[in-house]
């Protein structure tokens, strides 16, 4: 094509030894890019300081009167333990059997699904004492429950249609729960071991119900009241086989009928009526279950993370959009033609840098916030000391740092796709922050749905309280309750971050730089 022949030249040979552009070198290059922009280091430092400071302010704003002596389960959980109990002593091994024929509301209101009527073996009549119970419920069939935090489902039999036979057999420190439809064929539900159960225990029939909960929510205010709840249950064929020092069944209100909670203190005591045909009618109030209305002091310690997120979004976005803005991305892809590798290196660097700064920040936030909360009445025994090195505090500290880091990665991915800072920052803020704010305003089901399907689900990682499925509890975002478990909540954010990265990789391969 040339009209003259090119003079013979020796092509240039470089004196440099060919270096292989490995991934570690790429990481080093991206790290150099990061730390050589002073503003980004500053943003990182401000993010850490703001997270700690806002967490302190948040914790200082929470207080509790904390003057109620809590009932503690054998494992230290704060529980409700009050019920009406028709019982006898049992010394040594033995079996108690009963037929439950009815469980009805006695206060004119609908029956709570977790109202309980059944048999219980209890170490003593003291609230919080170890127990094992087999019980019928209106909404959840037959269950075996023991020591407040354990629950096993039995059959799905419904008292409204047929009576249910229940049986507890005690042998040493083992208690076995059975159920039967006819009193002849028994099926075992669960074999429970109660540690160092004394020789003499209390066995018998009981009735209990959670209180009715009334919830009113509107933007900026929530009123949640719990109260009432009286149920009546009918039992017959109540029989004890074994050695008993008490020849007759006696009745008592364990826990005074109304446990540490709101409700009328002068409520009618429970009652037991025995008909000439041997039908025991027990009326009572109170519940045997973990108390989930206390504040979550772990969750209260990380309120600064919410603000720290904004800085992470900015960092993650700018780390890539600043290159698009100035055309520097072309220099980057000229040096490393593999765009997926560049994306991977950027992801590793931004994730590592943000996590390394966020972890000390969340650890410090938690430690300082805990001492603020102590001063404000969140003290043992209701609020036991939490060790930073143990779950749930450790999970919340590490998880919050991971949350901040994942948000930065999500922002990076969105930044690659949208290529503009403003668009990417707005998108991530809408995804992560907005659901949190909307959750306070929307009806509870909508709020909980939002906190499941958006990256805001990740805030669940900050929860320290355990929410048991066998306790009806209004999981209110404003009380720090998230509808997902901590790890699955964080996984939602991780899934969003991964999806953003995949979309970014696809977009990088498909579009011109």
């Amino acid at each position: 094509m040339t009209t003259t022949s090119t003079p013979t030249v020796t092509p240039y040979r470089s004196q440099l030894h060919p270096a292989r552009a490995g991934f570690l070198r790429l990481l080093r290059a991206e790290w150099t890019k990061f730390w050589t922009v002073r503003a980004w280091l500053l943003v990182l430092a401000i993010a850490a300081v703001v997270t700690v400071v806002i967490s302190q302010l948040g914790a200082s704003g929470s207080s509790t009167s904390g003057n109620v002596e809590p009932t503690l389960a054998p494992d230290g959980t704060v529980v409700r333990d009050s019920f009406h109990f028709t019982h006898r002593e049992l010394t040594g091994d033995g079996t108690v059997t009963v037929r439950v024929t009815a469980l009805e509301s006695a206060d004119g209101r609908a029956l709570e699904p977790w109202a309980k009527a059944g048999l219980i073996v209890k170490e003593s009549l003291e609230p919080g004492a170890p127990y094992a119970a087999v019980l019928a419920t209106p909404g959840h069939g037959v269950r075996t429950q023991w020591n407040f935090t354990h629950d096993t489902a039995g059959g799905a039999s419904d008292l409204a249609t047929a009576p249910t036979w229940l049986r507890l057999t005690r042998a040493g420190d083992r208690v076995t729960a059975y159920e039967s439809a006819d009193g002849r064929t028994w099926s075992e539900i669960k074999d429970v071991r109660l540690e160092s159960l004394p020789r003499t225990v209390h066995v018998g029939a009981f009735v209990a119900t959670p209180m009715h909960q009334i919830l009113r929510r509107s933007f900026g205010g929530t009123s949640e009241t719990a109260g009432g709840g009286v149920v009546t249950a009918s039992f017959d064929r109540l029989a004890l086989r074994g050695t008993s020092a008490t020849p007759a069944w006696t009745s008592a209100d364990v826990g005074g009928g109304v446990p540490n909670g709101p409700g009328p203190q002068d409520a009618e005591p429970g009652a037991t009526k025995l008909s000439p045909t041997g039908v025991y009618t027990l009326t009572g109030r109170g519940d045997i279950a973990p108390d989930e209305t206390l504040g979550d002091t772990v969750q209260m310690s990380f309120q600064g993370v919410f603000v720290g997120i904004l800085f992470m979004v900015a960092l993650g976005t700018l780390f890539v959009t600043s290159e698009y803005k100035r055309g520097l991305i072309r220099t980057t892809f000229t040096a490393t033609p593999s765009r997926t590798k560049v994306l991977a290196a950027k992801t590793v660097v931004i994730a590592a840098v943000t996590f390394a700064v966020a972890l000390p920040a969340t650890a410090l936030s938690f430690t300082l916030a805990q001492s603020r909360l102590r001063e404000n009445g969140f003290k043992p025994p209701a609020f036991p000391d939490l060790s930073l090195m143990e779950a749930p505090a450790l999970r919340a500290v590490v998880g919050s740092a991971a949350l901040l880091s994942l948000v930065a990665v999500l922002a990076l991915g969105v930044g690659v796709v949208l290529r503009t800072s403003a668009g990417a920052i707005a998108t991530v803020v809408v995804l992560v922050i907005l659901p949190q704010i909307l959750a306070f305003a929307l009806p509870l089901p909508a709020a909980q749905w939002l906190l499941r399907v958006t990256p805001a689900a990740a805030f669940a990682i900050q929860q320290g309280a355990t929410y048991y499925p066998f306790v009806d509890h209004n999981c209110l975002p404003e009380s720090g309750c998230y509808p997902m478990t901590p790890v699955s909540g964080l996984s939602v954010l991780a899934a969003y971050a991964l999806a953003a990265l995949l979309l970014a990789a696809w977009s990088l391969r498909r579009r011109d730089a």
Partner: protein, 312 residues
């Protein structure tokens, strides 16, 4: 074929309804400075981006050392590129900009100092790039291109916006790099910028190849059979020569350019007709003239198309 070359084969690239590059083919040889010239919007930058693997061609291919850019394992050691001198993070020091590039290829730290010295940026590189003049940015961009000591250099409008001193510096610098045996592709929309720099020219317009020739050939062709004539009797000379079938153009108060006659025949005719003249010689075209001639059609076409776009 040496490995220190750029080959563009039948390249075609479309952006929406605009055909930016339309079946372009050319080669850049080692030891030469190849000027890549065309009016603004002719497709120069698109071609360069495609060579560097930044844009994917719709058709054809661009090879560096016989391979597509994206297949290069250590691209900085094979091709140095300056696409946009403004592509710097304003709060990053010039030196740090070169450091991350060096890290990406595991290049020794002294390479950064070496190239900064080569472009005379040792002092300025300690400052943040946000405060750089255009000349400093161009120098830093060239330093970045030289970092891997590559046998091929691709520079997009490196002279754009430089002061005369800077332009002179770049010309000398590029000549020296080419003398070392490197293949250098320099784009420009102004032919005059490449005067005394380029050995070879690739001229494009509207994404198509217009010329791919050595500079010396091009100048000879543009000069053609024209004769430059200096005379005080301009009118008589014009009448006389036109009668003999020549085309005569006025180029100054006492200068004419004659086309269609040799210098010898012109002298004969003027002497016979007793028309006084001071000087007769073969006309030497400037590169700019050669370029204008080559791109005239392309430019007019482009202008018409631009008007069309405006009215649309």
């Amino acid at each position: 074929m040496s490995d220190a070359t750029i080959e563009v084969r039948n390249l075609r690239k479309r952006f929406g309804r605009t055909l930016a590059v339309d079946g372009l083919s050319f080669t850049v040889e080692p030891g030469t400075v190849t000027g890549f010239v065309g009016p603004n919007g002719a497709g120069k930058s698109t071609t360069l981006r495609t060579i560097l693997g930044l844009d994917a061609p719709d058709e054809g291919e661009a090879l560096v050392g016989g391979r597509p850019y994206r297949a290069l394992r250590t691209p900085l050691l094979e091709v140095g590129a300056l696409l946009d001198a403004a592509a710097l993070h304003p709060s990053r020091r010039g030196r740090d900009h070169l450091r991350w590039l060096a890290h990406s290829h595991g290049l020794p730290a002294h390479r950064v100092d070496d190239v900064l010295e080569q472009v005379g940026m040792e002092q300025a590189a300690r400052r943040r790039a946000g405060g750089y003049s255009l000349g400093m940015r161009q120098r830093l961009g060239i330093a970045a291109a030289l970092l891997g000591d590559p046998p091929v250099l691709i520079l997009d409008e490196p002279v754009n916006g430089l002061d005369p001193e800077g332009i002179q510096w770049i010309r000398t610098f590029l000549r020296r790099l080419a003398a070392e045996g490197r293949a250098i592709l320099v784009s420009s929309h102004l032919m005059s910028e490449l005067e005394d720099t380029a050995d070879h020219l690739v001229v494009i317009g509207r994404g198509r190849l217009i010329a791919d020739r050595a500079v010396s050939d091009l100048l000879a062709a543009a000069s053609g059979d024209r004769v430059a004539l200096r005379t005080e009797a301009r009118t008589e000379a014009m009448q006389l020569l036109a009668r003999e079938g020549a085309t005569v153009a006025v180029t100054g108060p006492d200068t004419l350019t004659v086309t269609g006659l040799t210098a010898r025949r012109t002298v004969e005719l003027l002497t016979e007709g007793h028309v006084p003249f001071a000087e007769v010689g073969a006309h030497r075209a400037t590169l700019e003239e050669a370029y204008m001639e080559l791109t005239r059609d392309a430019v007019e076409f482009a202008a018409a198309a631009a008007d069309d776009e405006v009215t649309r």
